[in-house]
Protein backbone atom coordinates (compact mmCIF):
# COMPACT_ATOMS: atom_id res chain seq x y z
CA UNK A 1 0.00 0.00 0.00
CA UNK A 2 1.35 3.45 -0.88
CA UNK A 3 0.84 6.67 1.00
CA UNK A 4 -1.67 9.11 -0.43
CA UNK A 5 0.06 11.86 -2.42
CA UNK A 6 0.03 15.33 -0.88
CA UNK A 7 -2.32 16.79 -3.48
CA UNK A 8 -4.09 14.01 -5.37
CA UNK A 9 -5.02 14.80 -8.98
CA UNK A 10 -8.53 13.39 -8.73
CA UNK A 11 -11.17 13.78 -6.03
CA UNK A 12 -10.95 11.24 -3.26
CA UNK A 13 -14.11 9.65 -1.88
CA UNK A 14 -13.95 7.71 1.38
CA UNK A 15 -16.33 6.41 4.04
CA UNK A 16 -16.91 7.49 7.61
CA UNK A 17 -18.45 4.20 8.70
CA UNK A 18 -22.04 3.86 7.58
CA UNK A 19 -22.75 7.41 8.77
CA UNK A 20 -21.22 9.54 6.04
CA UNK A 21 -19.12 9.82 2.94
CA UNK A 22 -16.22 12.26 2.58
CA UNK A 23 -15.45 13.93 -0.74
CA UNK A 24 -12.05 15.62 -0.96
CA UNK A 25 -11.27 17.98 -3.82
CA UNK A 26 -7.91 17.55 -5.54
CA UNK A 27 -5.17 20.19 -5.60
CA UNK A 28 -3.88 22.73 -3.10
CA UNK A 29 -6.22 24.57 -0.72
CA UNK A 30 -7.77 27.29 -2.81
CA UNK A 31 -10.85 29.56 -2.99
CA UNK A 32 -11.74 28.46 -6.55
CA UNK A 33 -12.03 24.84 -5.42
CA UNK A 34 -13.92 26.01 -2.34
CA UNK A 35 -16.56 27.74 -4.50
CA UNK A 36 -17.05 24.41 -6.28
CA UNK A 37 -17.41 22.72 -2.87
CA UNK A 38 -20.18 25.18 -1.95
CA UNK A 39 -21.89 24.49 -5.28
CA UNK A 40 -21.53 20.74 -4.74
CA UNK A 41 -23.03 21.13 -1.25
CA UNK A 42 -26.16 22.82 -2.61
CA UNK A 43 -26.46 20.26 -5.43
CA UNK A 44 -26.23 17.26 -3.08
CA UNK A 45 -28.23 18.62 -0.13
CA UNK A 46 -31.51 17.31 -1.56
CA UNK A 47 -30.28 13.93 -2.77
CA UNK A 48 -31.94 10.74 -1.55
CA UNK A 49 -30.08 9.12 1.41
CA UNK A 50 -28.49 12.49 2.26
CA UNK A 51 -29.39 14.11 5.57
CA UNK A 52 -26.89 16.94 5.38
CA UNK A 53 -24.09 18.21 3.13
CA UNK A 54 -21.34 19.69 5.31
CA UNK A 55 -18.59 21.74 3.61
CA UNK A 56 -15.07 21.59 5.06
CA UNK A 57 -11.80 23.04 3.78
CA UNK A 58 -11.89 22.00 0.10
CA UNK A 59 -13.95 18.95 1.02
CA UNK A 60 -17.54 17.95 1.62
CA UNK A 61 -19.04 15.47 4.07
CA UNK A 62 -22.33 13.91 3.01
CA UNK A 63 -24.12 12.55 6.08
CA UNK A 64 -26.53 9.70 5.34
CA UNK A 65 -30.12 9.75 6.55
CA UNK A 66 -30.11 6.05 5.70
CA UNK A 67 -26.94 4.53 4.23
CA UNK A 68 -27.41 3.40 0.60
CA UNK A 69 -27.13 -0.37 0.04
CA UNK A 70 -24.96 0.24 -2.98
CA UNK A 71 -22.50 3.13 -2.91
CA UNK A 72 -21.43 3.05 -6.56
CA UNK A 73 -24.33 5.10 -7.99
CA UNK A 74 -23.86 7.83 -5.39
CA UNK A 75 -20.12 7.94 -6.01
CA UNK A 76 -20.69 8.24 -9.76
CA UNK A 77 -23.32 10.94 -9.31
CA UNK A 78 -20.96 12.82 -7.01
CA UNK A 79 -18.17 12.73 -9.60
CA UNK A 80 -20.57 14.00 -12.29
CA UNK A 81 -21.87 16.75 -10.02
CA UNK A 82 -18.28 17.80 -9.26
CA UNK A 83 -17.52 18.04 -12.96
CA UNK A 84 -20.69 20.11 -13.41
CA UNK A 85 -19.50 22.62 -10.81
CA UNK A 86 -16.48 23.25 -13.05
CA UNK A 87 -18.70 24.10 -15.98
CA UNK A 88 -20.88 26.46 -13.98
CA UNK A 89 -20.56 29.98 -15.32
CA UNK A 90 -18.65 32.26 -13.04
CA UNK A 91 -20.44 35.59 -13.43
CA UNK A 92 -17.69 37.34 -11.53
CA UNK A 93 -20.11 38.31 -8.78
CA UNK A 94 -18.96 36.64 -5.59
CA UNK A 95 -21.89 35.74 -3.32
CA UNK A 96 -22.09 36.59 0.35
CA UNK A 97 -21.92 39.64 2.55
CA UNK A 98 -18.99 41.54 3.99
CA UNK A 99 -18.94 41.97 7.77
CA UNK A 100 -16.63 44.33 9.64
CA UNK A 101 -15.44 43.14 13.04
CA UNK A 102 -13.92 45.80 15.30
CA UNK A 103 -11.18 44.18 17.39
CA UNK A 104 -9.44 45.23 20.59
CA UNK A 105 -5.92 43.91 20.03
CA UNK A 106 -3.43 43.03 22.78
CA UNK A 107 -3.68 43.60 26.52
CA UNK A 108 -6.22 41.53 28.43
CA UNK A 109 -8.17 41.01 25.18
CA UNK A 110 -5.18 39.42 23.42
CA UNK A 111 -3.11 37.67 26.10
CA UNK A 112 -0.93 35.73 23.64
CA UNK A 113 0.04 38.54 21.26
CA UNK A 114 3.51 38.52 22.88
CA UNK A 115 3.93 34.92 21.71
CA UNK A 116 3.11 35.95 18.14
CA UNK A 117 5.62 38.81 18.47
CA UNK A 118 8.25 36.38 19.76
CA UNK A 119 7.65 33.85 16.98
CA UNK A 120 7.24 36.22 14.01
CA UNK A 121 9.79 38.85 15.18
CA UNK A 122 7.24 41.50 14.16
CA UNK A 123 6.00 44.35 16.35
CA UNK A 124 2.45 44.46 17.74
CA UNK A 125 1.65 47.29 15.30
CA UNK A 126 2.93 45.27 12.35
CA UNK A 127 0.97 42.18 13.43
CA UNK A 128 -2.23 44.23 13.78
CA UNK A 129 -1.66 45.91 10.41
CA UNK A 130 -1.06 42.57 8.66
CA UNK A 131 -4.03 40.95 10.42
CA UNK A 132 -6.44 43.76 9.47
CA UNK A 133 -5.32 44.00 5.83
CA UNK A 134 -6.98 41.03 4.08
CA UNK A 135 -10.62 40.51 3.27
CA UNK A 136 -11.03 37.03 4.80
CA UNK A 137 -13.43 34.54 3.26
CA UNK A 138 -15.59 32.20 5.35
CA UNK A 139 -14.70 28.82 3.84
CA UNK A 140 -16.84 26.72 6.13
CA UNK A 141 -18.32 26.50 9.61
CA UNK A 142 -17.26 23.85 12.10
CA UNK A 143 -15.52 23.14 15.38
CA UNK A 144 -18.23 24.63 17.58
CA UNK A 145 -21.60 26.35 16.99
CA UNK A 146 -21.11 29.40 14.76
CA UNK A 147 -17.34 29.06 14.36
CA UNK A 148 -15.98 30.09 10.93
CA UNK A 149 -12.96 28.67 9.17
CA UNK A 150 -11.47 31.74 7.47
CA UNK A 151 -9.19 31.72 4.44
CA UNK A 152 -6.78 34.46 3.48
CA UNK A 153 -4.45 35.10 6.41
CA UNK A 154 -1.02 36.48 5.55
CA UNK A 155 1.48 33.69 6.35
CA UNK A 156 3.89 36.27 7.81
CA UNK A 157 1.89 36.21 11.06
CA UNK A 158 1.46 32.42 11.12
CA UNK A 159 2.24 31.08 14.60
CA UNK A 160 2.30 27.40 15.61
CA UNK A 161 -0.46 26.06 17.81
CA UNK A 162 0.23 26.29 21.54
CA UNK A 163 1.90 23.31 23.20
CA UNK A 164 -0.56 23.48 26.08
CA UNK A 165 -4.10 24.36 25.00
CA UNK A 166 -5.97 27.10 26.84
CA UNK A 167 -8.73 25.44 28.85
CA UNK A 168 -11.39 28.12 28.56
CA UNK A 169 -10.92 30.71 25.86
CA UNK A 170 -13.75 33.28 26.02
CA UNK A 171 -16.15 33.65 23.09
CA UNK A 172 -15.15 36.50 20.75
CA UNK A 173 -11.44 35.70 21.02
CA UNK A 174 -9.56 36.48 17.79
CA UNK A 175 -6.73 33.99 17.47
CA UNK A 176 -4.06 32.56 15.21
CA UNK A 177 -3.34 28.84 14.82
CA UNK A 178 -0.77 27.86 12.23
CA UNK A 179 -1.62 29.66 8.98
CA UNK A 180 -5.25 30.20 10.01
CA UNK A 181 -7.06 32.86 11.97
CA UNK A 182 -10.53 32.77 13.46
CA UNK A 183 -12.91 34.05 16.10
CA UNK A 184 -14.23 31.66 18.73
CA UNK A 185 -18.01 31.86 18.92
CA UNK A 186 -18.38 30.64 22.50
CA UNK A 187 -16.23 29.86 25.54
CA UNK A 188 -14.20 26.68 25.20
CA UNK A 189 -10.79 25.07 24.96
CA UNK A 190 -8.38 26.16 22.21
CA UNK A 191 -4.82 25.53 21.14
CA UNK A 192 -4.56 28.84 19.26
CA UNK A 193 -2.86 32.09 20.29
CA UNK A 194 -5.32 34.87 21.16
CA UNK A 195 -4.37 38.32 19.85
CA UNK A 196 -7.61 40.23 20.41
CA UNK A 197 -11.29 40.30 21.18
CA UNK A 198 -14.47 41.24 19.31
CA UNK A 199 -17.99 41.70 20.64
CA UNK A 200 -19.70 40.09 17.66
CA UNK A 201 -22.18 37.35 18.47
CA UNK A 202 -21.95 34.57 15.87
CA UNK A 203 -24.63 32.13 16.92
CA UNK A 204 -28.18 32.09 18.24
CA UNK A 205 -29.75 28.67 18.68
CA UNK A 206 -33.23 30.28 18.59
CA UNK A 207 -32.74 31.55 15.01
CA UNK A 208 -32.96 29.69 11.71
CA UNK A 209 -30.29 29.61 10.42
CA UNK A 210 -28.61 29.74 13.82
CA UNK A 211 -25.25 31.00 12.54
CA UNK A 212 -24.81 34.68 11.61
CA UNK A 213 -22.14 34.06 8.97
CA UNK A 214 -22.32 31.65 6.05
CA UNK A 215 -19.76 30.17 3.67
CA UNK A 216 -18.87 32.80 1.07
CA UNK A 217 -19.31 35.72 3.47
CA UNK A 218 -16.30 37.94 3.95
CA UNK A 219 -14.83 39.26 7.17
CA UNK A 220 -12.68 42.34 7.66
CA UNK A 221 -11.07 42.95 11.04
CA UNK A 222 -10.75 46.63 11.98
CA UNK A 223 -8.78 48.17 14.83
CA UNK A 224 -11.02 49.29 17.66
CA UNK A 225 -8.06 49.77 19.98
CA UNK A 226 -4.60 48.42 20.68
CA UNK A 227 -3.92 47.75 24.36
CA UNK A 228 -0.32 47.52 25.50
Amino acid sequence: MTAAPLHPEVPRISLLGTSALLFEAPGPLDIGQQRRIWALASLTQGWPHIQEAVPGMNNLMLVFSTPPENLAPMQAALQTAWDDTNRMENDGHAPGRTVELPVVYGGAAGPHIADVVAYTKLTVDEIVRIHTEPLYVVYALGSHPGYCYLGGMDPRIATPRRKVPVVNLPGGSVSIGGIQTGVSASDGPSGWSTIGRTDMSFFDAQCIPPAVLAPGDRVRFTVQRIDR
Binding site: L16, G17, T18, S19, L22, M61, A140, P145
Partner: protein, 338 residues
Protein backbone atom coordinates in the same frame (compact mmCIF):
# COMPACT_ATOMS: atom_id res chain seq x y z
CA UNK B 1 -42.57 16.74 37.37
CA UNK B 2 -39.38 14.90 38.21
CA UNK B 3 -37.15 16.42 40.87
CA UNK B 4 -33.42 15.79 40.76
CA UNK B 5 -32.46 14.82 44.31
CA UNK B 6 -28.88 13.67 43.65
CA UNK B 7 -27.56 14.62 40.22
CA UNK B 8 -24.23 12.83 40.44
CA UNK B 9 -22.14 14.48 37.73
CA UNK B 10 -22.59 15.08 34.02
CA UNK B 11 -26.16 13.78 33.96
CA UNK B 12 -27.83 15.27 30.87
CA UNK B 13 -31.10 15.19 28.95
CA UNK B 14 -30.51 13.36 25.65
CA UNK B 15 -32.46 12.11 22.65
CA UNK B 16 -30.99 10.89 19.34
CA UNK B 17 -29.27 14.26 18.84
CA UNK B 18 -29.36 17.28 16.58
CA UNK B 19 -29.13 15.92 13.09
CA UNK B 20 -28.98 18.64 10.48
CA UNK B 21 -26.98 21.55 11.91
CA UNK B 22 -23.43 20.31 11.52
CA UNK B 23 -22.87 22.82 8.73
CA UNK B 24 -23.41 25.58 11.30
CA UNK B 25 -20.75 24.09 13.56
CA UNK B 26 -23.24 22.29 15.79
CA UNK B 27 -22.21 18.81 16.94
CA UNK B 28 -25.03 16.29 17.15
CA UNK B 29 -24.83 15.52 20.90
CA UNK B 30 -27.41 12.78 21.64
CA UNK B 31 -27.41 9.66 23.83
CA UNK B 32 -24.13 7.75 23.92
CA UNK B 33 -26.01 4.41 24.03
CA UNK B 34 -28.80 5.07 21.54
CA UNK B 35 -29.97 1.46 21.64
CA UNK B 36 -30.64 1.68 25.41
CA UNK B 37 -32.50 4.95 24.85
CA UNK B 38 -34.54 3.62 21.93
CA UNK B 39 -35.42 0.28 23.52
CA UNK B 40 -36.37 1.98 26.79
CA UNK B 41 -38.58 4.41 24.91
CA UNK B 42 -40.39 1.59 23.12
CA UNK B 43 -40.95 -0.12 26.46
CA UNK B 44 -42.55 3.15 27.67
CA UNK B 45 -44.74 3.37 24.57
CA UNK B 46 -42.82 6.49 23.55
CA UNK B 47 -41.52 7.40 20.14
CA UNK B 48 -38.08 5.81 19.58
CA UNK B 49 -36.26 9.09 19.99
CA UNK B 50 -38.04 10.65 22.99
CA UNK B 51 -35.72 12.35 25.46
CA UNK B 52 -34.50 10.65 28.63
CA UNK B 53 -31.80 11.12 31.23
CA UNK B 54 -28.27 9.83 30.63
CA UNK B 55 -26.65 8.97 33.97
CA UNK B 56 -22.87 8.40 33.81
CA UNK B 57 -22.02 8.87 37.51
CA UNK B 58 -23.55 7.22 40.59
CA UNK B 59 -25.19 7.64 43.01
CA UNK B 60 -28.14 9.33 41.34
CA UNK B 61 -31.62 9.95 42.71
CA UNK B 62 -34.89 11.55 41.60
CA UNK B 63 -38.24 12.12 43.28
CA UNK B 64 -41.40 11.73 41.19
CA UNK B 65 -44.08 14.33 41.83
CA UNK B 66 -46.71 12.39 39.84
CA UNK B 67 -47.53 8.74 39.12
CA UNK B 68 -45.42 7.66 36.15
CA UNK B 69 -44.36 4.58 34.19
CA UNK B 70 -40.57 4.40 34.27
CA UNK B 71 -37.69 2.17 33.18
CA UNK B 72 -33.93 2.14 33.69
CA UNK B 73 -31.88 0.76 30.78
CA UNK B 74 -28.22 0.80 29.76
CA UNK B 75 -25.60 0.01 32.37
CA UNK B 76 -26.51 -2.36 35.21
CA UNK B 77 -26.51 -0.90 38.69
CA UNK B 78 -28.40 -1.19 41.96
CA UNK B 79 -31.82 0.38 41.33
CA UNK B 80 -34.23 1.07 44.17
CA UNK B 81 -37.63 2.70 44.42
CA UNK B 82 -38.15 3.87 48.00
CA UNK B 83 -35.55 1.31 49.02
CA UNK B 84 -37.20 -1.59 47.15
CA UNK B 85 -34.97 -3.16 44.47
CA UNK B 86 -36.10 -2.89 40.85
CA UNK B 87 -35.12 -4.87 37.77
CA UNK B 88 -33.34 -3.02 34.96
CA UNK B 89 -34.86 -3.05 31.42
CA UNK B 90 -38.26 -3.50 33.11
CA UNK B 91 -41.39 -1.35 33.10
CA UNK B 92 -42.30 -0.09 36.58
CA UNK B 93 -44.88 2.24 38.08
CA UNK B 94 -43.55 5.02 40.27
CA UNK B 95 -46.03 6.79 42.56
CA UNK B 96 -46.01 10.47 43.41
CA UNK B 97 -43.50 11.14 46.17
CA UNK B 98 -41.42 8.02 45.59
CA UNK B 99 -37.63 8.30 45.26
CA UNK B 100 -35.72 6.33 42.63
CA UNK B 101 -32.09 5.71 43.52
CA UNK B 102 -29.36 4.36 41.25
CA UNK B 103 -26.23 3.04 42.94
CA UNK B 104 -27.16 3.50 46.57
CA UNK B 105 -24.65 2.69 49.35
CA UNK B 106 -21.69 3.52 47.13
CA UNK B 107 -22.40 0.75 44.63
CA UNK B 108 -21.10 1.72 41.20
CA UNK B 109 -22.10 0.23 37.87
CA UNK B 110 -22.07 -3.58 37.99
CA UNK B 111 -21.40 -3.53 34.25
CA UNK B 112 -21.52 -0.82 31.63
CA UNK B 113 -20.88 2.89 32.05
CA UNK B 114 -24.16 4.77 31.58
CA UNK B 115 -27.72 4.16 32.71
CA UNK B 116 -30.78 5.74 31.15
CA UNK B 117 -33.93 6.77 32.96
CA UNK B 118 -36.88 6.85 30.59
CA UNK B 119 -40.38 7.92 31.55
CA UNK B 120 -43.70 7.49 29.75
CA UNK B 121 -44.19 10.50 27.51
CA UNK B 122 -40.51 11.41 27.59
CA UNK B 123 -38.66 14.18 29.37
CA UNK B 124 -40.25 17.38 28.16
CA UNK B 125 -37.64 20.09 27.67
CA UNK B 126 -37.98 22.59 24.80
CA UNK B 127 -36.81 21.40 21.42
CA UNK B 128 -33.89 23.51 20.15
CA UNK B 129 -32.79 23.09 16.52
CA UNK B 130 -34.86 19.93 16.21
CA UNK B 131 -33.64 18.11 19.32
CA UNK B 132 -33.95 18.01 23.10
CA UNK B 133 -30.33 16.89 23.57
CA UNK B 134 -28.03 18.97 25.74
CA UNK B 135 -25.37 20.79 23.67
CA UNK B 136 -22.80 21.36 26.39
CA UNK B 137 -20.32 23.38 24.30
CA UNK B 138 -23.04 25.61 22.85
CA UNK B 139 -24.86 25.79 26.20
CA UNK B 140 -28.28 25.15 24.71
CA UNK B 141 -30.75 22.29 24.47
CA UNK B 142 -31.53 19.85 27.26
CA UNK B 143 -32.32 21.50 30.59
CA UNK B 144 -30.99 25.07 30.32
CA UNK B 145 -28.07 23.90 28.16
CA UNK B 146 -26.24 22.25 31.05
CA UNK B 147 -25.79 19.10 33.10
CA UNK B 148 -28.45 18.60 35.75
CA UNK B 149 -27.94 19.77 39.32
CA UNK B 150 -29.75 18.96 42.56
CA UNK B 151 -33.15 20.62 42.76
CA UNK B 152 -33.75 20.78 39.00
CA UNK B 153 -37.37 20.08 38.05
CA UNK B 154 -38.11 18.34 34.77
CA UNK B 155 -41.49 17.96 33.12
CA UNK B 156 -42.50 14.50 32.02
CA UNK B 157 -44.21 14.59 28.65
CA UNK B 158 -47.88 14.16 27.87
CA UNK B 159 -48.78 10.48 27.92
CA UNK B 160 -49.09 8.95 24.50
CA UNK B 161 -52.13 6.74 23.99
CA UNK B 162 -49.99 3.59 23.80
CA UNK B 163 -48.41 4.24 27.17
CA UNK B 164 -51.81 5.05 28.72
CA UNK B 165 -53.17 1.68 27.69
CA UNK B 166 -50.30 -0.48 28.77
CA UNK B 167 -49.46 -1.31 32.33
CA UNK B 168 -46.34 -2.51 34.14
CA UNK B 169 -44.80 -5.88 34.85
CA UNK B 170 -42.73 -6.83 31.82
CA UNK B 171 -39.31 -6.07 30.43
CA UNK B 172 -36.76 -6.50 27.69
CA UNK B 173 -33.91 -8.80 26.84
CA UNK B 174 -31.03 -6.29 26.86
CA UNK B 175 -29.05 -5.73 23.64
CA UNK B 176 -25.92 -7.19 25.25
CA UNK B 177 -27.78 -10.53 25.30
CA UNK B 178 -29.75 -10.11 22.06
CA UNK B 179 -26.79 -8.80 20.04
CA UNK B 180 -23.73 -10.58 21.46
CA UNK B 181 -20.26 -9.58 20.27
CA UNK B 182 -19.50 -13.30 19.90
CA UNK B 183 -21.31 -13.04 16.56
CA UNK B 184 -18.23 -11.28 15.13
CA UNK B 185 -15.41 -11.71 17.64
CA UNK B 186 -14.12 -14.86 19.34
CA UNK B 187 -12.71 -13.62 22.61
CA UNK B 188 -10.06 -15.60 24.41
CA UNK B 189 -12.22 -17.24 27.14
CA UNK B 190 -9.40 -17.12 29.69
CA UNK B 191 -8.64 -13.46 29.05
CA UNK B 192 -9.19 -11.10 31.97
CA UNK B 193 -10.32 -8.47 32.08
CA UNK B 194 -12.97 -8.64 29.40
CA UNK B 195 -12.39 -6.80 26.18
CA UNK B 196 -15.14 -4.91 24.33
CA UNK B 197 -14.88 -5.70 20.63
CA UNK B 198 -16.19 -3.07 18.21
CA UNK B 199 -16.28 -3.24 14.44
CA UNK B 200 -14.33 -0.68 12.43
CA UNK B 201 -14.50 0.36 8.80
CA UNK B 202 -11.11 1.69 7.57
CA UNK B 203 -11.14 5.42 6.70
CA UNK B 204 -9.34 7.67 4.21
CA UNK B 205 -5.83 7.69 5.73
CA UNK B 206 -5.79 4.01 6.76
CA UNK B 207 -3.32 3.09 4.01
CA UNK B 208 -1.05 6.01 4.88
CA UNK B 209 -0.09 4.43 8.21
CA UNK B 210 2.94 2.16 8.18
CA UNK B 211 2.44 -1.59 8.18
CA UNK B 212 3.54 -2.05 11.79
CA UNK B 213 1.04 0.59 12.95
CA UNK B 214 -1.76 -1.03 10.98
CA UNK B 215 -0.97 -4.39 12.64
CA UNK B 216 -0.81 -2.79 16.07
CA UNK B 217 -4.11 -1.05 15.45
CA UNK B 218 -5.96 -4.35 15.04
CA UNK B 219 -3.97 -6.44 17.54
CA UNK B 220 -3.86 -4.13 20.55
CA UNK B 221 -6.25 -4.31 23.46
CA UNK B 222 -6.54 -0.52 23.77
CA UNK B 223 -7.16 0.92 27.21
CA UNK B 224 -9.83 3.60 27.59
CA UNK B 225 -8.10 6.30 29.64
CA UNK B 226 -9.64 8.44 32.38
CA UNK B 227 -9.53 11.35 29.87
CA UNK B 228 -12.57 9.89 28.13
CA UNK B 229 -16.03 11.41 28.11
CA UNK B 230 -18.96 12.30 25.87
CA UNK B 231 -16.58 14.28 23.62
CA UNK B 232 -14.17 11.47 22.92
CA UNK B 233 -12.35 8.39 24.19
CA UNK B 234 -8.60 8.84 24.50
CA UNK B 235 -6.94 5.45 24.25
CA UNK B 236 -3.68 4.26 25.78
CA UNK B 237 -1.48 1.87 23.85
CA UNK B 238 1.31 1.95 21.30
CA UNK B 239 1.92 5.12 19.24
CA UNK B 240 0.83 4.79 15.62
CA UNK B 241 2.85 6.42 12.86
CA UNK B 242 2.37 7.29 9.21
CA UNK B 243 4.60 6.52 6.25
CA UNK B 244 4.77 10.24 5.48
CA UNK B 245 3.20 13.19 7.25
CA UNK B 246 0.01 14.27 5.52
CA UNK B 247 -1.36 17.75 5.07
CA UNK B 248 -4.44 17.87 7.23
CA UNK B 249 -7.47 19.94 6.28
CA UNK B 250 -10.46 20.38 8.48
CA UNK B 251 -13.38 18.28 7.31
CA UNK B 252 -16.63 16.93 8.70
CA UNK B 253 -16.38 14.09 11.19
CA UNK B 254 -19.01 11.88 12.83
CA UNK B 255 -19.13 10.03 16.16
CA UNK B 256 -17.07 6.86 15.88
CA UNK B 257 -14.25 8.38 13.80
CA UNK B 258 -10.87 7.22 15.13
CA UNK B 259 -8.39 10.10 14.83
CA UNK B 260 -4.66 9.66 15.31
CA UNK B 261 -2.86 12.86 16.38
CA UNK B 262 0.84 12.94 15.40
CA UNK B 263 2.83 10.43 17.45
CA UNK B 264 -0.13 9.72 19.68
CA UNK B 265 -2.47 6.86 20.37
CA UNK B 266 -5.95 7.10 18.84
CA UNK B 267 -8.88 9.23 19.98
CA UNK B 268 -12.40 8.03 19.19
CA UNK B 269 -14.90 10.81 18.58
CA UNK B 270 -18.06 10.35 20.63
CA UNK B 271 -21.49 12.03 20.63
CA UNK B 272 -20.39 15.46 21.90
CA UNK B 273 -17.49 15.60 19.44
CA UNK B 274 -17.19 18.71 17.33
CA UNK B 275 -18.58 18.23 13.81
CA UNK B 276 -15.20 18.85 12.16
CA UNK B 277 -11.62 17.77 12.61
CA UNK B 278 -8.34 17.49 10.79
CA UNK B 279 -6.29 14.63 12.23
CA UNK B 280 -5.56 11.55 10.09
CA UNK B 281 -8.29 8.93 10.44
CA UNK B 282 -7.53 5.24 10.85
CA UNK B 283 -11.15 4.16 10.66
CA UNK B 284 -14.65 4.62 12.03
CA UNK B 285 -16.30 2.51 14.72
CA UNK B 286 -19.53 1.59 12.96
CA UNK B 287 -22.73 3.27 14.13
CA UNK B 288 -24.19 -0.14 15.09
CA UNK B 289 -21.42 -0.68 17.68
CA UNK B 290 -21.26 2.80 19.23
CA UNK B 291 -23.55 1.64 22.04
CA UNK B 292 -20.98 -1.01 23.01
CA UNK B 293 -18.32 1.69 23.20
CA UNK B 294 -20.68 3.90 25.22
CA UNK B 295 -20.93 1.09 27.80
CA UNK B 296 -17.17 0.42 27.97
CA UNK B 297 -16.00 2.21 31.14
CA UNK B 298 -12.76 4.17 31.55
CA UNK B 299 -10.00 1.75 32.50
CA UNK B 300 -11.48 -1.10 30.45
CA UNK B 301 -10.01 -2.38 27.18
CA UNK B 302 -11.36 -2.42 23.67
CA UNK B 303 -10.39 -4.29 20.52
CA UNK B 304 -10.99 -3.13 16.94
CA UNK B 305 -12.39 -5.75 14.55
CA UNK B 306 -12.19 -4.99 10.84
CA UNK B 307 -15.44 -5.01 8.89
CA UNK B 308 -16.71 -4.06 5.46
CA UNK B 309 -19.43 -1.64 4.38
CA UNK B 310 -21.73 -4.61 3.77
CA UNK B 311 -20.85 -6.06 7.17
CA UNK B 312 -21.56 -2.70 8.82
CA UNK B 313 -24.97 -2.47 7.10
CA UNK B 314 -25.79 -5.99 8.28
CA UNK B 315 -24.86 -4.98 11.84
CA UNK B 316 -27.25 -2.01 11.61
CA UNK B 317 -29.98 -4.34 10.36
CA UNK B 318 -29.50 -6.64 13.38
CA UNK B 319 -29.92 -3.66 15.73
CA UNK B 320 -33.02 -2.49 13.82
CA UNK B 321 -34.47 -6.01 13.96
CA UNK B 322 -34.01 -6.06 17.73
CA UNK B 323 -35.86 -2.74 18.05
CA UNK B 324 -38.57 -3.90 15.65
CA UNK B 325 -39.14 -6.99 17.79
CA UNK B 326 -39.39 -4.82 20.91
CA UNK B 327 -41.78 -2.47 19.14
CA UNK B 328 -43.95 -5.41 18.10
CA UNK B 329 -44.01 -7.23 21.45
CA UNK B 330 -44.36 -4.37 23.93
CA UNK B 331 -47.99 -3.49 23.00
CA UNK B 332 -48.91 -7.20 23.11
CA UNK B 333 -47.61 -7.56 26.67
CA UNK B 334 -49.25 -4.28 27.59
CA UNK B 335 -52.60 -5.57 26.33
CA UNK B 336 -52.15 -8.95 28.08
CA UNK B 337 -51.47 -7.36 31.42
CA UNK B 338 -54.11 -4.66 31.14
Amino acid sequence: MIEIVSAGALCTVQDFGRMAYRRYGVGTAGAMDQLALAAGNLLMGNPLDAAGLEIPVLPFAVRFQDDLSITVTGADCRIELDGKPLLPWWKHRARAGQVLTLGSDGCGFASGARSYLLVAGGVDVPEVLGSRSTQLRGRFGGHQGRALINGDLLKAGVLTSASKLSCEGYGLVPPVVALPASAYYQANPTATPQVTAVRVLPAAEYGAFDDVSIQLFWQTDWKITAQSDRYGYRLAGPALSMKTALETRSHGVVPGVIQVPPGGPPIIQMRDAQPSGGYPKMGTVIEADLWRLAQAPAGSRIRFVETTYTGALEASRCASDYLRKVDHLVPLFGALNA
